[in-house]
């Protein structure tokens, strides 16, 4: 047996119906509505466009500020809990030879890598694996 909808549900349904009627209205109908209300259609479109652009810029800005906080927090924590040198070397060699698919490797103004440089690249690889594992955990959650 179905229950009567609550006031909130009724209001929400009404809200959706108004939105739908606006979205489904033809341009001619909208022009007519604006004319009746004594408003200029072109100016209203420009106003809505500007508001949309401002909202997009504000949202982008908020996303970027969140990214600034997250990247700062990431730098401040210990990002590699364990480091398996042999495993990292195996993956590094596989990436370099092209055996590991979807690998990206590049260096700017490089010469022959020193022993320390190569060791640090292996640490970067361990860090990359930690990031991938974090993504996997988030995906599973």
């Amino acid at each position: 047996m179905s229950r009567d909808p609550t006031d909130r549900e009724k209001l929400s349904k009404l809200d959706r119906a108004i939105d739908d009627s606006i979205l489904e209205a033809s341009e001619a109908d909208l022009r007519e509505d604006f004319k009746e209300a004594g408003d200029d259609f072109e100016k209203a479109v420009a106003r809505a466009g500007r508001a949309l652009e401002q909202a997009k810029a504000r949202a982008a800005r908020m996303r970027f500020e969140r990214a600034q906080d997250e990247s700062k927090a990431y730098r401040e924590q210990d990002n590699v809990k364990s480091f398996d040198l042999a495993k990292a070397r195996c993956r590094f060699d596989g990436m370099r030879s092209g055996e590991v698919a979807e690998s990206t490797m590049a260096a700017r103004k490089g010469g022959k890598l020193s022993e320390r440089d190569e060791e640090n690249l292996l640490k970067d690889l361990a860090q990359l694996e930690a990031l991938e594992n974090e993504d996997k955990v988030e995906w599973e959650e």
């Binding site: 997250e70 990431y74 730098r75 370099r96 260096a107 700017r108 890598l113 440089d117 690249l121």
Partner: protein, 254 residues
């Protein structure tokens, strides 16, 4: 203004509209890349990436502006070369040709557009009344980039009739001209003794506060160039090199 480049679209998509907001570490984060700063012996920066994630390491021993450019460069690789291995033989890093299609050149262009986006630089150039090192330095400082990188961007934007040329004590090392300049305005190979640049590099003179006029034949050798004057102003680079900014007369415009 022309079409936006990939790097510029990235900035706009993140709501970045002012030079002070070009936070490259955070931009990298939005692209799935994290950044480490540590001493690197034999290169400026590296990137290791998988499908969605990347780790970029930047040489902490380099100057701040160079570190920014290097990070922008690696982000360029992440944008254009994802899934490619640009290292070659064991322990070595490839040296690609530096033509327009080379991955290194493309990554450099991406970096230049990321740290000096045209849509922010051009309005400032339009307000620059005269091409001087002081005005160029002000621009470089605002964007937190090197003076050389700034001048290269100014050349690309084709706003002033200018040439930049780098010399060492023996020879011309490299030069760039604004696209508007006729192709025969190519600076001579050896630094002419009558230039202010030679005074600085060879005889230890101080940097000039303003561009100084000199006969064009001190810098060029095409027939009839002695009819013109150019303005020159130079600054010293590391490794005993000097970079000169030449402002050319309107007759040099093609």
């Amino acid at each position: 203004m022309g079409r936006m480049t990939s790097a510029e679209r990235l900035l706009v998509g993140l709501g970045i509209a002012e030079p002070k907001d070009i936070d490259l570490d955070a931009i990298a984060w939005t692209q799935g890349a994290v950044v480490n700063y540590r001493p690197i012996d034999n290169c400026e920066a590296t990137i290791l990436g998988s499908k969605k994630r990347a780790v970029i390491s930047v040489n902490s021993l380099s100057m701040r502006q160079r570190r920014r450019f290097s990070l922008g460069h690696e982000l360029g690789h992440w944008h254009y070369d994802r899934g490619k291995v640009l290292f070659c033989g064991k322990n070595d890093v490839c040296n690609f040709r530096h033509d327009a299609l080379s991955p290194e050149r493309r990554a450099d262009d991406f970096a230049s557009d990321l740290i000096l986006p045209n849509f922010m630089v051009l309005p400032r150039l339009r307000k620059m009344k005269r091409l001087t090192l002081a005005a160029s330095r002000e621009l470089a400082d605002e964007f937190d980039v090197s003076l050389t990188t700034t001048l290269v961007k100014m050349i690309a934007l084709n706003h002033f009739p200018m040439v930049i040329v780098c010399h060492n004590r023996r020879d011309r090392v490299w030069y760039k001209t604004s696209p508007m300049i006729a192709e025969w305005w190519r600076p001579v190979r050896a630094l002419d003794d009558q230039t202010f640049a030679a005074d600085m590099l060879l005889r230890g003179a101080d940097e000039q506060n303003f561009p100084r006029k000199n006969p064009a034949d001190a810098w060029f050798d095409f027939k009839g160039c002695d009819r013109y004057e150019v303005e020159e102003q130079s600054f010293l680079l590391p490794d005993d090199e000097i970079l000169t900014v030449l402002t050319l007369p309107r007759q040099a415009i093609a």
